[in-house]
Symmetry: C2
Subunit: 336 residues, 2 copies
């Protein structure tokens, strides 16, 4: 894998911008050939201007995906535009038709087959037709609550159930994440947001499906719960203050059953003031496994890492729509 990959960055919101920085820091491994974003404020600007770099890169941001893809013919597109597949799967189709493999942060793409069976079939068909791979990944879904759990089971002869905890101190993360988890709002406001159906973490169901499929397990029922974590003390972050009694963040938990057997438990807490941030996988198996990432996996940078580190695996994988369980172990790439 010592080749250099020609890469287009598609979408330069906060995660996309971090991807750009990482891509440019790995010049002997990755060659940035184009950047796509629909924001008129960014169109036509050199990537260097947007990132605040001294030397122009010669790569201008363009809103015209078709033009960028046909003129640059990338090996892989790093795609970071939306959490929801229905909103943007035409973007993936376009990349595939241009012969580019795609690694995407779209949460629903981490395991799209159940929520979006038709879109999944279409993506798989177009990817195969064009000899490219489409892969959804990220830190969660894509790693912390699914791939790492599957990895933990690799040394078990029997597995009866898997319990996955992720506790994130949102106070250490960027403002959008603190807002995303409702830090500082009241419980009534939390209930309102929850009622919209567009609040909370996206991906627990995808992670359950991914782990179950990886283990060859049937899951016929998934229960999902979203509760506020109420702060027992005042917490001040660089961006906001959470008063005692107001919402510090979310407790999002989901359970996968086969009949009345609870097989998979995913427990996610993201709140400011978390005292035991960690990622943990417990496998009730033979032998059992008790795996912990102390301090937890730092989401902002780790999400970028999963995307950039997955470039070689996405490029070399068999054509089609894939998940992280289908490709060789994603490990750090281009670090020396």
């Amino acid at each position: 894998m010592s080749r250099t990959f020609n890469v287009v960055q598609y979408g330069i919101g906060p995660i996309g911008l971090s991807c750009l920085r990482t891509i440019l820091s790995k010049k002997s491994h990755i060659n940035l050939v184009g950047v796509i974003d629909i924001d008129p404020a960014k169109a036509g600007k050199d990537v260097a201007d947007i990132l605040g770099l001294d030397t122009p890169t010669g790569i201008l941001v363009s809103p015209d995906a078709d033009k960028v893809l046909s003129s640059t013919k990338p090996d892989v597109v790093v795609h970071t535009t939306s959490s929801f597949l229905a909103r943007m799967y035409d973007q993936l189709i376009l990349c595939a038709r241009h012969g580019a493999s795609i690694i995407s942060s779209t949460e629903e793409l981490a395991y799209p087959y159940v929520r979006h069976p038709e879109i999944s079939a279409e993506l798989d068909r177009v990817a195969r037709e064009n000899g490219v791979t489409i892969l959804g990944t990220g830190v969660n879904p894509g790693y912390a609550m699914d791939a790492l759990a599957l990895m933990a089971t690799g040394v078990c002869n029997q597995v009866r159930s898997v319990t996955i905890h992720r506790e994130v101190d949102a106070g250490l993360r960027r403002l959008p994440l603190q807002q995303k988890v409702g830090a500082g709002i009241t419980e009534a406001e939390f209930a309102e947001k929850k009622a919209t159906g567009m609040f909370g973490h996206i991906g627990l169901v995808e992670s359950i499906r991914l782990v179950a499929d990886g283990l060859g397990w049937n899951i016929d029922r998934i229960e999902e719960h979203l509760d506020p974590v109420v702060s027992r003390k005042e917490v001040v972050t660089p961006y906001l203050t959470v008063k005692e009694g107001s919402v510090a963040g979310i407790h999002h938990h989901a359970y996968g059953y086969d009949g009345d057997q609870l097989l998979l438990t995913l427990d996610l807490k993201m709140f400011v003031g978390a005292e035991d941030p960690r990622d943990a996988v417990k496998v009730d198996g033979d032998p059992p496994m008790d795996l912990v990432v102390k301090g937890g996996i730092f989401g902002d940078t780790a999400t970028v890492a999963t995307l950039i580190n997955g470039i070689p695996q996405t490029f070399f994988a068999e054509p089609g729509l894939k998940t992280v369980k289908d490709v060789p172990l994603v490990r750090a790439f281009g670090t020396r």
Copy 2:
């Protein structure tokens, strides 16, 4: 992967016997079609007699590998005969020529390219010619000190160095392992054993090569050290007694350098009376990773698990000689 795999077990020492038990416990996923072992005491016996089962399996142990392979045509051979490639690579060649993929516990096969370049090239050539895969795995090498470390780096944008600790309480393991680590012998006896060059753990160098290759790192020098762990108290196991001042086990450690830069540290302690048994990976990176398997991965059963769980990946992989970094994430298989 809901198909059933026809499997031959090649070698039924302690690990091979455990593999047999696991294979027979997964009948809806694995179909045992043959067993090969050269031990005259086992030849001709039904597997059930050897395992102490009530019902005959109809599968007789045979020393004639050629005959077993040609009459049973297995999808995959689970191979557990030797730690050393030079002693048995003809066994792998024979399996490959019969069209069987192979998953093997041979430690040197976990990353054979540097220590055995010619054998590796030959294995790769014959595997490709016959459309089969040859994969070496196990808990160590194959998982604890290499695959798990690579997995940990998957969420890192930069990696400066990786430090891997494995501490095993040999007192909880079977007698051969306690003997293998020299539990109960004197320091002078330890020195004698060490001087033979056939003592200590096999696989640290393979793990270093595997991690380095996975990360695309150059390693031009490996330092390896083997020291006794001297017991500070008397420890009694079900099999033997280690007196205060005698050897409790091994401290085997290895270091991978690029020039004068220390990139990889592997620190393995296997001794009776270990107080903090664990597997730990520390990645000095961005973000850093501090991953721990509390209590450690229990080697005896876990080694069997890596072999049996790897059957589907070995079968479905591209033909050739592969390592665990080349195949999709090995996870538990056939557990329901």
